[in-house]
């Protein structure tokens, strides 16, 4: 997934980040401009397009009838997938999902699932037999860094906009949707990059190309943590982890306001 980057540029980005500034003029705790658009596609039960700077991700929600998992007979099912389609970057290729796409899907899924965002018990129709299966599909249109936060934001926005299809004698009527999908929590993901000895929020593409390590955390409205993922081939110290978590919990409060329609 990495593009080749000249050493001179690598050094330049590191130097500028370590001096407390960034290439695009942001501070260490600033996001790029974030935009959310909801309900873009009539065919989907819910959808959202989120852009963070140049990164654009669409999340689409589709629902079908299916069977519950045997160990959770009274709960609906959530399935999350992500596609890094070739239009989004010269380094993405067509074909089955590779590790970076799988990681995005699983980290987003963990944030939504572990926070209890979807009230899955309300998606049960006949216990042990029939439940709603919610497909959450992420489509990355333009990759300019920080897919994790854009994808989680798009996912929760799409879920909040989703309306349940009508059910009539086991027939799903997709063009008659009324009740909103039961959403009871709004997980927010914040991603930090460690570049040299400095940890900055929302890495751009260039910053991702030079980062040593990455830390994504998902928080819920109470400020509790519900998911975390370190990435990258470098490491964090204990102090860096604790400090980054405090920054992330604060930042998530700000971001959550964007979800209010």
């Amino acid at each position: 997934m990495l593009e080749i980057i000249a050493d001179i540029k690598r050094d330049y980005i590191k130097r500028i980040v370590e001096s407390g500034k960034r290439l695009d003029g942001r501070g260490p705790d600033d996001y790029r401009e974030i935009k959310i658009e909801r309900d873009l596609y009539k065919t989907a039960e819910g959808s959202a397009l989120v852009s963070i700077g140049g990164t654009q991700v669409i999340a689409g929600v589709k629902m079908i009838l299916g069977e519950p998992f045997p160990d959770m007979p009274n709960q609906g099912v959530l399935t999350t997938s992500a596609e890094l389609i070739p239009m989004a970057s010269p380094t993405f290729e067509a074909g089955p999902p590779k590790p970076p796409a799988i990681e995005v899907a699983r980290v987003v899924d963990r944030g939504i699932r572990e926070s209890g965002a979807i009230d899955t018990e309300k998606l049960c129709i006949v216990e042990g037999e029939k439940v709603w299966v919610v497909f959450l599909d992420l489509h990355v249109l333009d990759y300019d860094g920080n897919l994790f936060d854009a994808s989680t934001l798009a996912s929760i926005s799409a879920l909040l906009s989703a309306k349940m299809p009508k059910l009539e004698d086991d027939r799903v009527i997709y063009d008659e949707r009324k009740d909103p999908l039961p959403v009871k929590e709004k997980p927010i993901s914040t991603t930090y990059a460690k570049i040299g000895g400095t940890v900055v929020l929302d890495p751009s593409l260039e910053e991702e190309q030079v980062l040593d390590a990455r830390l994504t955390l998902a928080t819920v409205e109470s400020g509790d943590l519900c998911a975390m993922q370190k990435g990258g081939s470098g490491a964090f110290t204990k102090e860096e982890v604790l400090n980054t978590i405090d920054r992330g919990i604060e930042k998530a409060k700000e971001l959550r306001k964007l979800l209010k329609v």
Binding site: P97, P99, P100, I102, E103, A105, R106, R110, R113, E114, S115, G116, L215, L217, V220, S222, G223, D224, L225, C226, A227, M228, Q229, K230, G231, G232, S233, G234, A235, F236, T237, K238, V241, L242, I245, D246, I249
Partner: protein, 237 residues
């Protein structure tokens, strides 16, 4: 998410008799395979895990090699018989993700710049699983790499902490993982106290997180002592 119904702590003891700060019994052995450049076998509670290391060796396919350093590749795989419900052979999304984070947990200690255009291949096979396989796998893989003589800055030791019945506990076993409220796997390169793996799911308050993080790091240090002892046992003259 919390699941109701099973009491995991009674009279201060866990279902297997452990206290909250206790690891499961761990056994380690290195040099267990003949053909691999390095290998290790770890039994961690009910987990049985084999790791092998090959390299540095020529990269296939060629286009993934790096002109200025070695690459590290990890394949984490579960045997179909390693879990109660047979696992379909081959990589699923979980294995792909664990392979990726394991690679990123081990790569920071490898002196990759010494071996341009080569690969260090690490294979982790889970033969019997009971929660904590990624931590046991990373621990075994680090031993296999040391056994193979890969130049490394440090070892990597891994351990998880979690939350059961509202209390932070070290090293969750299967039942605790299923009915517990949170899990936090961590890997540590102990010499410079570098955290190279950090994942979490469930629910922690800020304070609980710090407690669990400290506990997991403490667990890593205990595992590290066992790793050193295991290596010394084979190589000390």
């Amino acid at each position: 998410m919390k699941k109701e119904g099973v009491k995991l702590i009674e009279n201060g003891k866990r279902l297997d008799g452990r206290g909250l700060d206790e690891l499961r019994p761990i056994k380690m052995e290195i040099g267990v395979l003949k053909r691999a450049d390095g290998s290790a076998y770890v039994e961690w509670g009910e987990n049985k895990i084999m790791a092998a290391c090959y390299g540095p060796r020529e990269v296939h396919p060629r286009h993934v090699e790096e002109p200025d350093r070695a690459i590290v590749r990890v394949r984490y795989n579960m045997a179909p018989f390693s879990v109660p419900d047979r696992k379909r052979p081959g990589p699923d999304r979980r294995s792909v993700e664990i392979s990726k984070v394991t690679k990123e947990a081990l790569e920071p200690v490898v002196l990759t710049h010494l071996f341009p255009r080569t690969v260090v291949d690490i294979f982790i096979e889970v033969l019997q699983a009971n929660a904590g396989t990624r931590c046991a796998g990373i621990t075994a893989a680090a031993l296999a790499m040391a056994d193979a003589g890969i130049p490394m800055r440090d070892l990597v030791a891994s351990c998880a902490a979690g939350k059961i019945d509202g209390k932070v506990a070290l090293d969750l076993m299967g039942l605790e993982d299923n009915y517990g409220e949170a899990d936090l796997p961590v890997a540590l390169a102990p010499n410079k106290k570098q955290v190279t793996l950090l994942q979490m799911d469930g629910n922690f308050t800020r304070a609980e997180f710090e407690e669990a993080f400290e506990k997991a790091l403490g667990g890593c240090l205990k595992v590290y002592e066992m790793q050193k002892k295991t290596i010394r046992k084979k190589y000390e003259v």
